[in-house]
Symmetry: D2
């Protein structure tokens, strides 16, 4: 059963390192090549998980490139709760600062809002960019008024159906021309579990890998491909429809087993299992391939999370103290 | 098996009369109280199905109120094919004219674009309204220039999360104040099958029933509730995520049966079937309740279909001859 | 000269009571039937002017219906200055509370976002509505979570070119159907002076008069026409292009006078002045009639002010304490 | 007087070569270094003016770089008139083909939609891009279905306040990375006369010069700066507010002169004229500097013209025959 579950989980792509790691059976000393730390902030209700992929063994185990993946989870992200949102923005700002420090504290950053602003579930990146404080072009007096010491530029490159170009081509061109010291890429992600939609933020210092994101960007945005380090911030907004198929098969198998239906147990759980499973897949997946599952109120969730994230970024680049501290001063 | 299938199909709501009827086992003389006609237009590749619910028996059989439901289906709706789109607009215009004639040929019409323009899959109504020729306010010279003899007004009422009001309340108020002779309501629909997303248009003379539509309007827009006849035009853009669960259960059951897994056949197809089925539902549905399945390129599909539909409506109300005829004259 | 100036000022419509009053020559005891109070808040840099039109004499003098007009002015509204914006939202909230109290403290309010969201300078109303907390539809548990005791509904009715209907017809219908106890109408306004664009907020308890607003709503939204009291909040975003013509004529006349050009002084300032003035008007105005002057960065100004205003309204209806107080508590 | 007029005209920037040329006093054999041809298409009501700047004398005379400027003018552009719009799209397609031929018939083109999509009068470029058929990314079967032999890519780079980067930097980077053989740039323009707003299309083979466009792009998009030839298509959507000041001064001066007001004539038309004029300018312009004049229905005009232009471009790159011909075949 475990083997099957794992096989199934691996077949539905997830952009979350957290979920990729959950699908791996841990040995006694955890997953080799992967370090995991968890924290729960009682006040804000935010659970923080730090997955670090340390070496090639880790890369193979969870299918994500070497680097740090920090996940913030909280049910309240999806509902109006200003106090909680302020806490999350503040936490996000701290983690961004940490990752920037790891890159040698760059002071000029290009923010990239990936995704398609015409598709609600894919519009997180453009929405975040829309609220960022852009400062690279300011001069003289304006510059003095702008609070931060960062030079921030931003771009919403669109998706390939709109531009005919790979996002990576567009960004590489702009990077070569404008020479930012680092990239900060914001994107909507695909998760494996519907319960994570709109309630999770993932940060990483690895950039964007091929095939990830809602819009399925074929090429990568990484330090390797662009020549500058890349921080990625993402929020899962969709689950591939195929995931529902696999969840249903699992649930059925468990039920049959529990009911002790011997024949069924054999048939569904037996040696031919993976074979049959393949057949279900072939029956159902072709129609579902390009289909996504998303919540009915995805517009509100993306709007809230877009705001939380842009506030976090603005705190870093605007050198603004978080409102809390400001008032105390 | 059939009983189960039917049960399952009925449990996932569909706004399409076509699909509601497909889920019913027909007797020798068809479904009592329902008349069905099909046509296939070879040139344009459009399949037209006319389902007429004639009496109470028909209403009970397919769960739709008495009236005419005309469905246009064509794969080409979902791709760029101007020739085909022009044909569909023209066909749509003819069916709208027919339904209007059935209402005594009203000359003042309020067009209503239901749905949430912030959610791509629910934005069909607002997009159609955006392209309609509105003429009710024109006076004197402008009126002479406007080609049609219709007085057309239009409204995009928004959804309850945005307004705090039932759409029916808003529309009833406007109808009472501005006294149109008929309503034309455009809405995004929920289908049962993903293959119909963005490839189907349904027209009916029954208005909008409670609980239909992507945005789940709780109250109805019907002649009974508003005092004026209502033509509804809809396009399925989502499938409830639960439908995928049921499809998977079906596919598994068929596979097991085919494989002759006797125990499994008993267990899954046996007398306890509906019971087990209920258990799957209880396991999986709670998380999926408010989730929808929609294609990745839903923005393009809604844009194309919005354009096809608004062109069709403009042909009727602008008294414009379809381009074809125009050029011949 | 004064007579001419006044004549000119009166010929270019302004929606601001403040400006209407400025164009009137005051007698020794001010303008009869009009009471004026001014305050300057040194900390926030906000100037508050309260113009009260007391009776028919006042109505005739400044061309505005009886009622209270409160104007908040601050250069900082047009630039990013969160501290200042918070102060203005807070002040706005207080004035809204005051006006509501004057209406007998209604607890159910319909918020109306007037204007055309497709035209940046006319999109203030729709933008404010987009950020309001709507609560009328909440039930049970949700209601308990919603902080305020108000029932807030909202509508963006669109403009006549989009709907074919007078905004007043739409609103009257909705008011009759949903029975709110008061209206809160937000609109973009036309000012007389470009220096006020995006730096001024006007509140009044008189509703919207015919012919006001950027989109030139022909009918009124007032207690008289709707049966419920109406608070109006507006921000000037355009100046009629004709105003520039009059400003230029004034400037030229002053220059000529200053230069002592006797002939010119006679010619431009003499008895035939209004006549000549009329001729200029006839030469230039026809082309400018439907033209508006607006700043190049109108998108930023409308966005900032929309946010300031929606925050103010949310403080009132959400019973939220202003952030300041909250932190102290 | 003429000198003054010219001086004034030159002080208000126009992006239209047509207007730049109108402001120049022609000698007996026209303007040296500038060739002008005019045509009037009686059927469609379109006036076509071809201004060719031949050499340095021409560049100095009208202040535009060497090249061809083709202007299409028709009142009907601003109103709903499908027949006329089809004619204009067709004419536009022919002129684009002509200019492309002059560039050696490139087959890969990058379309650029300049301007700010958040400001209605500046959103022409983004709106046109939104309707273009993008084909560069198509492969295999899709490619065979796509009608044209062109490879079309597209980008909406945003404006400096949004990106912190010069548009020229962004485009240069993308051009170097993706190597298109030519650029097609679409932009909203500033005209000198309000009568041309939304009724004029200008094509040129010179690209975009510094300081032109509504959004005031500081750097240029030209063959010289980018290394590939650039076709520019523009539509005037605004007039600088200062133009109204100058028009008023002119009108006043004429009136005074006509009235024989000797003193005034002296004063206004005398030797100190340009000096006084300067004073008016100093009085009024500071406030008007960043102000624009635009029609109230700018959204409809931009929408119509965006559609006309995208249809014209799609005819060229899709190798689509214009609908007329198509029907005859």
């Amino acid at each position: 059963m475990e083997e099957l579950e794992r096989m199934q989980d691996m077949q539905v792509h997830t952009d979350l390192a957290l979920e990729a790691r959950e699908s791996v059976t841990e040995g006694r000393e955890g997953i080799l090549g992967v370090s995991i730390e968890e924290e729960f902030h009682k006040d804000s209700g935010v659970r923080v998980t730090r997955v670090e992929v340390l070496d090639e063994r880790g890369e193979q185990a969870i299918g994500k490139p070497r680097g740090v993946y920090i996940t913030l989870e909280a049910e309240q992200m999806a509902v109006h709760d200003e106090g909680c949102h302020r806490e999350i923005s503040r936490a996000l700002a701290e983690y961004i600062r940490e990752l920037l420090k790891g890159f040698g504290s760059p002071t000029s950053v290009l923010a990239v809002g990936l995704g398609n602003q015409e598709v609600t579930s894919d519009s997180l990146g453009p929405q975040v960019l829309n609220n960022l404080m852009i400062t690279r072009h300011l001069t003289g007096e304006q510059k003095e008024e702008a609070p931060g010491t960062f030079s921030v530029s931003g771009i919403v490159p669109g998706v390939m159906a709109q531009t005919g170009m790979e996002t990576a081509e567009i960004i590489r061109g702009i990077v070569e021309e404008t020479k930012p010291e680092a990239l900060l890429v914001v994107d909507a992600l695909a998760a494996r579990s519907v319960s994570r939609l709109g309630t999770t933020i993932q940060l990483s210092n690895t950039g964007i890998s091929p095939g990830s994101g809602v819009g399925n960007h074929r090429h990568s945005l990484t330090e390797e491909s662009l020549g500058v380090p890349v921080i990625a911030i993402g929020v899962p907004t969709v689950v591939a429809a195929a995931a529902i198929v696999y969840d249903t098969v699992d649930a059925l198998a468990e039920l049959l087993e529990a009911a002790g239906a011997s024949g069924a147990a054999e048939a569904v759980d037996g040696m031919e299992l993976s074979e049959r499973y393949q057949m279900v897949k072939e029956l159902i997946e072709p129609r579902l391939g390009p289909m996504y599952v998303t919540p009915g109120n995805i517009d509100e969730r993306v709007k809230l999370l877009g705001y939380i994230i842009s506030e976090g970024i603005n705190q870093v680049f605007g050198n603004k103290l978080p409102p809390h501290t400001e008032e105390q001063a």
